[in-house]
Amino acid sequence: MSKSFFSVSGAVGAIFALTAAATSMPVFAQDATTTLIVAGPRTPESLDQEYPPTEAGHEARRNIYERLLAYAPKTGEDGIVYEDFSKIVGALAESWVVSDDKTSITFHLRKDAVSTVGNVLTADDVMWSFERGWHLKANFRWYMTQVLKIESFEQAFAKIDEHTVKVTIPNPSPLIDRIWVNNDLGILDAAEVKKHVTDEDPWASIWLANHSASFGPYGVTKYTPGQEVVYEANDKYYRGEPRLKKVIFREMPTSANRVAALQAGSVDVAEYLLPRELSLVEKMPSAKVWKVFGNYIHRVEMNNEIEPFSNEKVRQALNYLVPRDGILKAIYFDTARMTKSPISEIYPGFTEEYFQYSTDLEKAKALLVEAGYPQGFKTELGYRTGDQIEEEIAVILKSALAKAGIDVTLSKLPASTLVERYSNGKIPMYFFRDMAIVPDAAYVANLWLNSASLINYPRFKNEEVDKLIDSSLTSIDEQKRLEGMRRVQQITVESAPWIFLMNPGYQLATRSNVKGYSWYTPNANSWFDFYKD
């Protein structure tokens, strides 16, 4: 009997292993109120702000870099500190002057900003940061050329004196001041970074990928990709010494493990939990869930250039087939909200007035008949491996679309493969999740709807939309810009380049003694604002 017993006990053992997936890793708590231990899905891919933006990367940037300008903080009714998009305040720039025609901005720098290694901020730091960003042709360069339309470094950036820097742009831009709040536009401690410049690496990219040198509240003292990041406070930070002296970020890829660690008290903060896990954490007396609606969008994009999605009526029909209420309840546990516009609902200029898609099978079928697909069609929907939310929504969508004869094959693909396929237009439908971090409707529309945008993956093209975006990016008549953006939202909602789904919001689970939660547009936690009781 020995052989068969082996296979039977093997089977039972395997089932145990399969079902008992939620086990916790040992993480040791430190009881000091000045140390915060954070568990997140992954460590930043790089500490360099020129690396492509990711959620983990944004969080590192938020804490180690300091920018020239910021939005004034305002406390919401929920006790959470938000950014007041209507009021810009100085950060590393103590004051600033925008020319009347909005073609130049002059920054007067603080004289008391000190970096993590003790260097005092000067105009040279700012100029070198600009120069580096310009030459590396990544994030900084993109904002300067695509948003501010700068063509030449020499004509645009000038050091006026030791504490003054001026940026001049070719055409007026309504974003000339608010762009400098952007999370990717931090100022480096040039004196420190230059020590690590080599002939092969004139901008110290190798060193900056895993070190920090800026005027922000924290410096990274240990960075082990895939394991942990240790942030230590900059005690000379110009806004005051951070209350948390040390922040330890631990990578725990499985969200159930982060829940278990939070429950056990071995971490203080657990990032990116699933809605059902949050509902569980909310019931724990020792923990708290902070919830904001934020600026995430999660939708299913269709390739507008290939049949049958080149037909607007087909795209509208799909929007009429989605059981959004059901998805909200079953998948999001009511932590999300429907997106009813391409623009984030918390940004100025947002309107949901034009959104007309309810769950209406008859209407969807009628649209498919008009479009010439009375029997439906076959197509494919791609989602990311390991993304449970996407898989669950995909299953519901498949069922919902089947009611109108649309046969959807679900393809689970590694994130990199999925991105490659949709950026090359090689997949008809795919999940897309993103956030636009500049709170400006024209900026958001430019990212996703401008036919010339590199991340307009659905290849949506509408001449009127293109024109309105272009004029809104250069017009400084705020009223006209808002009107233009209303029209853009109307056209986009009507022509449905994608299946409108959800704004999943941003939620953070903490131990109940962790206070001071604040929310910034990159959905990155700013540890400077946090403290422990």
């Binding site: 052989k3 296979s7 039977v8 089977a11 399969l18 449970q388 299953v395 498949k398 689970k412």
Partner: protein, 280 residues
């Protein structure tokens, strides 16, 4: 008459009876799935998400609101189809191959054996995941991958038997009487070498069920929302933290039963086929 004796001998064993009973249930599920299952196995209803076992949903529903009982019933088709196909293919290729490399010992035989070593030196699971990710998540691909993994097993069993049989006097006699190699292999050696391979069939089907489920569990098996036991356990495991046990438990039990069934049948077959085990 001799065959009848073996069948009776087989049926006298409790393990065979239990195994056959479970097998019969599975066959009923395979054939009559549309009549047995109260719901479509792939129809999601978000408004019936994560419902506990009840009169409406005997084994509850999963997160998308699909009926777990209906999915388990339909999954029998997929799981048995994949496993049995894989084993039949592996048997059909592995047995003649084992016969050849056992009979003709030489460079070819050595090369094939090293190839088997290569396949078997990888952990089965890792190799399975790699092959499926290259070939794509289709039901037939999973079956092919399993067949590739099982071929060496059958071939080695047969080869070991052939190695001892080919030196026996009756083979020399056949050779002296002018029989061709082909005739010796298939008429004289094969019938005498088959027993362990036949016993292995049943055990392999059990293994195949477990491997299919495991591949789906780690995301390298069939596509969502195909009703498949391992995939069901996988999506259910994510709900365990909420105290929702039914989504993972029932398909898990289905896997245990199926594997148990083939293990018991294999065990009974081995006892019947092996005279030393039969003499008890």
């Amino acid at each position: 008459m001799k065959n009848n004796g073996i069948v009776l001998e087989f049926l006298r064993r409790p393990s065979a009876v239990i195994g056959l009973t479970i097998l019969a249930l599975q066959i009923i599920a395979v054939i009559f799935a549309p009549m047995i299952a109260p719901y479509s196995p792939i129809e999601a209803d978000p408004f019936a998400s994560l419902e506990a076992p009840s009169v409406a949903h005997w084994l509850g529903t999963d997160v998308s609101g699909m009926d777990i009982f209906s999915r388990i019933v339909y999954a029998t088709r997929i799981n048995l189809l994949i496993s049995i196909t894989a084993v039949i293919v592996a048997f059909a290729i592995g047995v003649p191959l084992g016969l050849l490399i056992g009979y003709y010992r030489g460079l070819l035989s050595a090369t094939v054996m090293r190839l088997f070593d290569f396949i078997q030196s990888f952990p089965v699971f890792v190799l399975g995941m790699a092959l499926v990710s290259v070939m794509g998540q289709e039901i037939w691909n999973v079956a092919i991958v399993l067949a590739v993994l099982f071929i060496p097993m059958f071939a080695r069993l047969i080869r070991a038997e052939v190695l001892s049989l080919r030196e026996r006097p009756f083979i020399s006699a056949a050779r002296c009487s002018g029989a061709t190699d082909l005739a010796i292999m298939f008429r004289h050696i094969l019938p005498n070498a088959m027993t362990p391979a036949i016993v292995q069939i049943s055990i392999s089907i059990g293994m195949a069920i477990l491997l299919t489920a495991g591949l789906s569990f780690v995301g390298a098996g069939v596509r969502m929302p195909t009703p498949e036991w391992g995939l069901m356990v996988s999506i259910g495991a994510q709900q365990m933290i909420l105290g929702v046990w039914w989504v993972a438990l029932f398909p898990g039990l289905a896997i245990v039963l199926a594997v148990l069934c083939f293990a018991l049948l294999g065990d009974a077959a081995r006892e019947v086929a092996d005279p030393t085990a039969r003499r008890r």
